[in-house]
Symmetry: C2
């Protein structure tokens, strides 16, 4: 709740009410399913439910609508995906490192307010100055808002004298077969991934961070994203992408600390010390050719994914979380799951994983073609871009049957800092 | 719930659970406030709460997640605004009236499914044909989805021999002072307003209606819209626009039948018989110059609206729903609420009203300016476009202080048909 002082008491009363409501939501929706499916090892968006099943006390926490901003790692990475995303890439217009530090300190202060549901700055604003908060989230709950900050390879060019500190794996991605990148959807010195269960809350965060950056950094590109809201999905199923298929079934389990240390979080053996506890983000804006997809047969669609559409199960199976048996063959010796299907190629031999955290996007109509400009803002986190994202994407870009139905129009990578300690600031280990 | 046959039993069990959850939501959130504020006569988005307060039984209806598609009027007009909007304008590519009838019949059948949460067509699709439903809403609840259909002035040109049936007030809007319209955001032969509490559900509806129209009509323009979600706003306050001000405080009361007959619904004395029970929609895509707004002082902002930002109360008052006292003056004789403020001009002498049902939009960044392309998809419903929308907009466009902070980039008007009777089809009274 964005608190004005006179409302704190009311807002406390409301928290009690919210507790009951969240409690009820959980009883009727999420955790019932979490218990049913808890043993499957399914990760990603399943994490919320598993977490609820494993630590039911946490689910009754009245602050569950608020996710902590400070911590060892940044939030918004292994956090169960919120309903909405506003992603923004910024370019620095200053050439002074001190300005960058000042910006990151201001962003830290603002982020702490934005994620806790307070107004930025002084609530008793001087009427003769511009308000310190733009106000559109006044009265709204924190809505599990997370803000995740990173720096792109360009940040380490000559401008700030930081070239020696660039992690060796942080470089623009190689060209992939079939890429059709447009510069306006690529790159950026800095990124902010704002996620929240409410789109207005996420928008408010990006808009205010852009406002605070004025004079130091400008927006380079932005993209909103969505998935089905939790409220529309009382079963808590794996969300579907805009091709109608479940997306995230094979994600690693974000509640498994050892797995996250293996897949996501960098440690001292992985590169520069300032990234210990951080991770690398790959972002791809993938436009889906939905009009072409919609004209293909159900059988073609399922063969393309290697999964059944309704259940999400691997072809030939009935359970979404059944193992992908890539060596299974039919009577004629033909693989049941085509080796060039999306699931088969993404899985490979199963040794290389990354944590996907993508959102669908819909950006109206493409004026040139009259078709919907809709697709996926693919986001993945991994401790090594080359060994994880790049090696998987090279496999996919060459042979994936799904390539016929999509085109990669945007691309960026960012080093997402380790978490911020209270009293510290975003990127302090790099810049401090 | 998108039902596959084998799931009907489960889905019935879930409805019972949903009842408890919705019940709880209402007890903790909406209706408590409805009772507090029920006597103020505040309309628009207040309608849900007032309705809950007046007819509590309805709020416990297990089908409350589903709004009826069939009825005397179309849904999505006086319906309390859902969280999300996908708006689409279509151009007909056929010149045969029979094709148009066929399209509207197909849309009727699809709309009945989309709004009730069923898959379109046969759930046991032939795998060798394209699926009859694109599938991304499979498993999602109906999410209060409404689909509202209309025809624009262009529909009555020479192509279909319908010129004599054009309602006299259905014509392209006159140019307003300051308009900066771009053709790609204007007009359309047909419109569909899809609203739902879940964006994926609304997107799914428009995407499938566009798919069904293939060969008969093509998309002309689309725009997604949002407001704060009900879940982020346990107090059920009037939603805020992207300028941070409450929007909808002065709306007429949508639960007052007599008022709606006076303001919204056309009757036999208002024009052609085929529009009896219909209404006229004005749509304006209003880009907000939020970067300029954010640099203006709080005092300027409040003077521009004629209201206080935090409370929404008229300047000088403390209650959001206090009467706008336009003749009140301060000690020096200066009006307390500036006559050229947005509230004062929109209110006028209070005799002319329209039902507003607008959504905020955010469409990423304007590549030309590097600024956020965000604003308001203004939508209003009225029984007479000229006497209501046009007369108010002429007043506003000439003198409104808010004009400095916004630019109208899109414009369209549509005659929204009366409701569809079961067994009938959209627009039957016109085309039947």
């Amino acid at each position: 709740m964005k608190k004005q002082p006179e409302e704190e008491f009311k807002s406390e009363q409301m928290l009690n009410k919210k507790l009951s409501r969240r409690d009820m939501l959980r009883l009727t929706g999420a955790s019932g399913l979490g218990l049913l499916l808890g043993g499957t090892g399914a990760g990603g968006l399943m994490a919320a439910r598993q977490s609820a099943a494993k630590t039911p006390a946490a689910s009754l926490d009245p602050a569950a609508d608020t996710l902590p901003f400070y911590g060892a790692h940044q939030a918004g990475i292994i956090t169960p995906a919120q309903n909405f995303l506003c992603f923004a890439a910024f370019d620095l217009t200053t050439t002074k490192l001190d300005d960058v530090k000042k910006l990151l300190k201001s962003w830290t202060e603002a982020a702490a307010a934005l994620t806790s549901g307070s107004l930025i700055g002084n609530v008793n604003d001087n009427p003769n100055l511009p308000p310190s908060d733009t106000g559109e989230a006044d009265g709204l709950t924190p809505s599990r808002c997370t803000l995740t900050f990173g720096v792109g390879p360009a940040f380490f060019d000559g401008r700030f004298g930081l070239a020696p500190k660039r992690p060796s794996s942080l470089a623009d991605l190689p060209a992939f077969t079939g890429d059709s990148l447009e510069p306006q959807w690529c790159g950026g010195d800095l990124c902010v991934q704002a996620c929240a269960d409410d789109l207005q809350v996420a928008f408010h965060a990006i808009r205010n961070l852009a406002r605070i950056a004025r004079g130091t950094a400008v927006l380079r590109w932005t993209q909103e994203g969505f998935q089905r809201t939790a409220g529309a999905d009382p079963k808590g199923a794996t969300p579907r992408n805009l091709l109608g298929f479940k997306d995230g079934t094979g994600n690693p389990d974000a509640t498994d600390d050892a797995e996250m240390r293996k897949v996501v979080w960098t440690s001292s053996s992985d590169g520069p010390a300032w990234m210990n506890g951080g991770t690398y983000m790959a972002v791809r804006r993938v436009r889906l050719r939905i009009e072409v997809w919609d004209r293909s047969t159900l059988s073609d669609q399922e063969t393309t994914f290697g999964r059944h559409r309704h259940s999400g199960a691997p072809i030939g199976a009935t359970d979404e979380f059944a193992e992908l048996k890539l060596d299974a063959a039919d009577a004629s010796g033909k693989p049941v799951i085509p080796p060039d299907s999306h699931s088969a190629l993404a899985h490979g031999d199963g040794t290389i994983k990354m944590l996907r955290r993508s959102y669908s996007y819909s950006s109206g109509m493409d004026l040139k073609t009259g078709q919907l400009d809709a697709g996926l803002l693919f986001i993945s986190f991994q401790k090594d871009l080359l060994k994880q994202f790049v090696s998987i994407q090279q496999r996919l870009s060459k042979n994936d049957r799904l390539n016929e139905y999509m085109v990669h129009t945007g691309s960026a990578v960012f080093a997402c800092f380790p978490g911020v300690r209270e009293g510290g600031y975003i990127g302090e280990a790099l810049l401090g």
